[in-house]
Symmetry: C2
Subunit: 109 residues, 2 copies
């Protein structure tokens, strides 16, 4: 039906999936990379950099904001976006611990 049955999974599973989803789009990856590179930046920049319409970028920024990954502060007519280092580290360690499990090296079955 297009709706995820969140209630049957653990909080951790839902949260991890949500984190991954927030970054599961090349535009959002590109935005994050751009923010990292310039350490602080303005939305208008991105509209020039990426080849997407202003409304579309604003939508992606909103998702990243909802995920807590970025913050925006109003700066005159423009908005200054940057990565929230605390949340970034949380993401990093959550994914690290997910991927750090040992996977059997033997052939399947």
């Amino acid at each position: 039906m297009g709706i995820t049955k969140s209630e049957i999974f653990t909080d951790k599973q839902n949260k991890l999936a949500g984190m991954l989803k927030a970054l599961a789009h090349p535009a959002r990856i590109a935005i994050i990379q751009h923010l990292v590179k310039s350490q602080a930046c303005i939305c208008g920049d991105l509209v020039g950099e990426l080849g997407l319409a202003q409304a579309t970028i604003s939508q992606h920024l909103k998702e990243l904001k909802n995920a807590g990954l970025i913050q925006g502060t109003i700066e005159g007519t423009s908005v200054c976006y940057c990565i929230d280092p605390k949340v970034w580290k949380q993401y990093k360690s959550a994914l690290e611990s997910f991927f750090s499990v040992e996977v059997a090296n033997s052939q399947c079955c």
Copy 2:
């Protein structure tokens, strides 16, 4: 329009987004965790474990298979699924290098 404009992003960005997308669902996280725990397992198991219909789980398994994360070998009437350790390590290092960039610790702007 619902279609991602892959052509305007780099291969790396598209690939990374694809990796994240493959895991961006709690059911797929749960499947991976179950496979890790039991090191090798059978689909029927999962239908019992998770509370999803067989068709739905089969669909999620297909996506993980397309992403290269799991392999299935036919074993009589059932299929034995397990994680591909090589691809798993690729994911791990790709995400590690994405998250390893230093993010400014100062307040925004």
